[in-house]
């Protein structure tokens, strides 16, 4: 939490309305996202109860499990979910574009678009992960055979859940996290995890304050929980009895009674899910109304890359992902995630002046007006004369950089500015900063038009850099001692005695 966001929260309390903490959208929003709202049965280990899913606000699809403790019914559910999710994901495996690789000596292909799943809250991502875990090892033969689409669904869900850990990826997003990254409400983070409450702070119904609408939404009768956990009151008073009626009917010999009991369950669960469905699309509209940040497209291209690779892997009959990473794989992955987290943070600051403002407050950036510019200044003290324009920027931000610091401007990321002088101006808390520029101006001794900031221009300089960070080096698997997950280990899928098979017979009762 930064002071800027904290102040925005205080302002939200006073205004009774959420306040923006970003000026652009930092996530990609697909033209056709798959909204996915799972519910699970209380007390069970990720046992699906129902899901509302779809890409069209007007046509939600509802799948239910009338007896979530029944393993057979759970796998029927998985198969039905696969019929929705697999065609959705595979639908993007058509048009490709060529991407040069290996310094343009080679090309590879990636799909022009990719699937995107939006769940209400982080617990929904947890559901995707665990449901992936419980289905990807399933066997299509043996004692408890499932349809081939079930383990395939498991691989895809696991893929999405893994992507969700990657900072900056937009393949599987939770709406509460996305909204909270762009808006500050007048309530705590704990309460922001409630989708209904959060959306109402941001976009209350006409004529009502956000604070009021958010409080009303806390009542599970008005706004049922966005899942996967259900409201205990609903479980005890409504769902429990209806399940009991269904159970009795399914054991009797009146198929009409059974169908009626099933329909009743469907209606009840639809009633629990429909308000969240509406909130999801309302929240997505809020997000869509913001213009995307400049680097959103490049990050989505990375998502498309990874998606393209994974769909090839799956089409080639790839094995299910391991239960847990070995030590080296885990360390490598952690390192990658950290790096992705750092560059995502910097890209956001470069894309968004309001996020850069947090760095201005911390003395890592300043914004000012160019008051002097010598675009043709040449430094001829070295062996060869080089173009080294100087500019003077006057700012009201505090400038804490020592002389000699290298800065960069988000508007000219190829160019570096070295701090030459920092001079406080007597009146009015201003500072003059003289910077010497290099790079981003071609090879000649004359700067091309527009490559040097001009007098009157407002410009940001920061010590944050998008520069290349070298990847960490880790030992290969063969060189790793077995205590750290080295050689004497084989993929779960290869070993009939290991989890792969065990999972297939796992008792789900």
């Amino acid at each position: 939490m930064s002071t800027l966001t904290a102040l925005a929260k205080a302002q939200a309390v006073a205004a009774g309305r959420a306040q923006p903490i970003a000026t652009v959208r930092h996530a990609h929003i697909s033209d056709m996202p798959l909204v996915f709202i799972p519910l699970t049965m209380a007390g069970e280990a990720n046992a699906p109860l129902a899901v509302m899913v779809g890409t069209d606000e007007d046509r939600p699809e509802l799948l239910i499990v009338p007896q979530p403790r029944d393993r057979g019914l759970r796998f029927d559910f998985a198969a039905r979910l696969a019929e929705i999710l697999l065609p959705y994901a595979e639908g993007f495996c058509s048009a490709t574009e060529a991407v040069p690789t290996d310094r343009k000596r080679d090309v590879r292909y990636r799909y022009l678009d990719a699937p995107q799943i939006i769940v209400p809250a982080p617990a929904g991502i947890g559901f995707v992960r665990l449901f992936g875990r419980s289905t990807r090892f399933r066997r299509t033969d043996g004692d408890y055979p499932v349809l081939p689409t079930v383990p395939l669904l498991g691989r895809w869900l696991t893929f999405f859940a893994d992507r969700a850990e990657q900072p900056g990826s937009s393949m599987l997003l939770s709406l509460t996290e996305m909204l909270s990254a762009h808006w500050a409400t007048g309530q705590s983070g704990h309460e922001d995890a409630h989708l209904g409450s959060l959306v109402n702070w941001i976009a209350p119904p006409p004529g009502m304050s956000g604070a009021k609408a958010a409080r009303l939404a806390e009542d599970p009768e008005v706004c049922p929980p966005a899942g996967p956990a259900t409201d205990p009151g609903f479980d005890n008073d409504v769902l429990g009895p209806a399940m009991e009626i269904y159970r009795a009917a399914s054991e009797g010999d009146d198929p009409e009674a059974e169908r009626a009991a099933y329909r009743e369950l469907e209606d009840l669960l639809r009633g629990q899910l429909a308000p969240t469905w509406e909130l999801m699309w309302r929240g997505l509209r809020v997000m869509r109304s913001m213009p995307p940040g400049a680097s959103v497209e490049a990050r989505w291209a990375q998502d498309r890359d990874v998606f393209s690779d994974f769909s090839l892997y799956v089409q080639g009959g790839g094995a299910p992902q391991a239960r847990r990473d070995g030590a080296v794989a885990a360390a490598t992955r952690l390192h990658k995630l950290e790096r992705a987290g750092q560059s995502y943070a910097i890209e956001r600051a470069f894309d968004d002046p309001l996020i850069m403002a947090e760095h201005r407050l911390g003395g890592e950036a300043f914004v000012g007006e160019v008051t002097l510019s010598k675009p043709d200044r040449v430094d001829d003290t070295g062996k060869r004369p080089v173009l080294r324009p100087r500019i003077q920027v006057v700012t009201t931000d505090p400038v804490l950089f020592p002389e000699g610091t290298t800065l960069v401007s988000p508007s000219k990321p190829q160019q570096k500015g070295r701090v030459i002088f920092v001079t406080p101006v007597e009146d009015g808390g201003k500072t003059e900063v003289v910077l010497e520029l290099s790079g981003g101006m071609g090879r000649g001794l004359r700067a091309p038009a527009g490559s040097v900031p001009e007098v009157g221009e407002r410009i940001t300089y920061t010590s944050l850099s998008l520069g290349y960070a070298p990847p960490g080096t880790f030992p290969s698997r063969e060189e790793t001692p077995w205590t750290h997950g080295g050689p004497p280990q084989y993929s779960i899928a290869d070993d009939p005695l290991d989890q792969g098979d065990h999972a297939a017979t796992e008792d789900w009762s």
Partner: protein, 362 residues
């Protein structure tokens, strides 16, 4: 409040002529949720039914539990304990100790069961003790507790076994649930140590490692993990000793307070809700968003604190320089009030933040 009465009598007066609410391991664990809150310490100390208070003053809490979860928990526990705890014994890998059920029929009183437990602890060291009865003192009042099980392990130390029905999937479990289970188990560790002391044995033979038994992956098979509850124990001890000194808290309260919920003719508490509200307000609270998960009065306290930065959470308040009131924060940020010396630093930062937001937010 009369200085001469004992804390017990004073607490009884606060509660009025209704029976005190009974504590269990969960409610004692919850006491550690917001240890700095006097309101909570006093109401819990007096055994006031906070849920009912909250309802009566128009802020009903939501602390229901799904019957599905309860059923699942009971089924899992019953499976583990069936056949003299065969499944548990197998899981613990101990050399088939004896099994002793101390529940002692429906008629057994708490005191009887407690003394049977003491006896068993003295005489049956190698035994899996099921349904033992322990007790702990909370605000000067004895509270009886029923742990899931106490096992005597091979390393000559007692271990508390806590059976929970949330799953451990690929060796990982929900950290929030694990930590709640650890705090509850710590309550039993503490109570078991007291019982051993009373049975004339070394209380330190109770390990601070408790055994958490949960279903494995998506199955009903149990898996056990050792968890270290030292941290929970020290938090718990601190809060219990604070509760033991409750008379000091009571001294700070105005005379004549009461949270009497005695029912009138309609079965509802007869007390005027406004008067009850006023008495609740007279006891200082310390609201934090964590209360929402741990205290029945949280909706009331949140509404009471609505103009305070406390509702935004601890880290937000810290970023706002620890300033308590939202309007003060904003006035300092706008520069419309003069900061006090200890607000000066925060004011500079807030004004800078305000200028930036004013510049950038359309």
């Amino acid at each position: 409040m009369a200085q001469t009465s004992t804390p017990d009598a004073r607490l009884d007066r606060l509660r009025g002529p209704v029976a005190p609410r009974r504590h269990n391991a969960r409610t004692i664990a919850a006491l550690t949720g917001n240890p700095g809150c006097t309101r909570r310490a006093v109401l819990d100390g007096a055994g006031v039914d906070k849920m009912k208070v909250a309802e009566h003053i128009g802020f009903p809490g939501r602390f229901g539990q799904s019957s599905f979860a309860i059923v699942r928990g009971n089924v899992f526990e019953a499976r583990l304990k069936a056949n003299e705890g065969a499944a548990l014994v197998g899981l613990l890998g101990v050399d088939v100790p004896k099994y002793l059920d101390l529940s002692g029929g429906p008629k057994a009183s708490n005191e009887e069961r407690y003394s049977r437990t003491l006896e068993a602890l003295r005489d049956n060291p190698d035994t899996l003790l099921d349904h033992p009865m322990l007790r702990l003192e909370v605000a000067g009042r004895r509270v009886y507790l029923e742990p899931d099980l106490v096992a005597f392990q091979l390393d000559n130390r007692y271990h508390v076994v806590e059976i929970k029905s949330f799953p451990v999937i690929d060796e990982q479990a929900d950290p929030g649930k694990v930590s709640a289970a650890a705090t509850q188990a710590a309550v039993y560790v503490l109570a078991l140590r007291e019982a051993l002391a009373e049975a004339g044995r070394d209380p330190e033979t109770v390990s601070h490692h408790v055994l958490l038994v949960c279903p494995k992956d998506f199955s009903n098979q149990p898996v056990s993990s050792m968890i270290d509850v030292r941290r929970q124990l020290s938090v718990l001890r601190r809060q219990l000793s604070r509760m033991a000194r409750i008379d000091q808290l009571l001294d700070t309260l105005p005379d004549g307070l009461t949270f009497d919920l005695e029912a009138g003719d309609d079965g509802e508490p007869a007390r005027d809700p406004e008067a009850l509200t006023a008495d609740i307000e007279a006891v200082p609270a310390r609201y934090a968003p964590d209360c929402l998960a741990t205290c029945e009065l949280s909706f009331f306290c949140r509404a009471e604190a609505r103009t305070s930065t406390a509702v935004l959470g601890r880290s937000v308040r810290e970023e706002l320089g620890g300033i308590e009131d939202v309007q003060t924060v904003l006035a300092l940020a706008h520069g419309t009030i003069e900061p006090t010396p200890d607000q000066a630093e925060a004011a500079v930062l807030l004004q800078a933040a305000y200028r930036l937001r004013a510049e950038l937010v359309p």
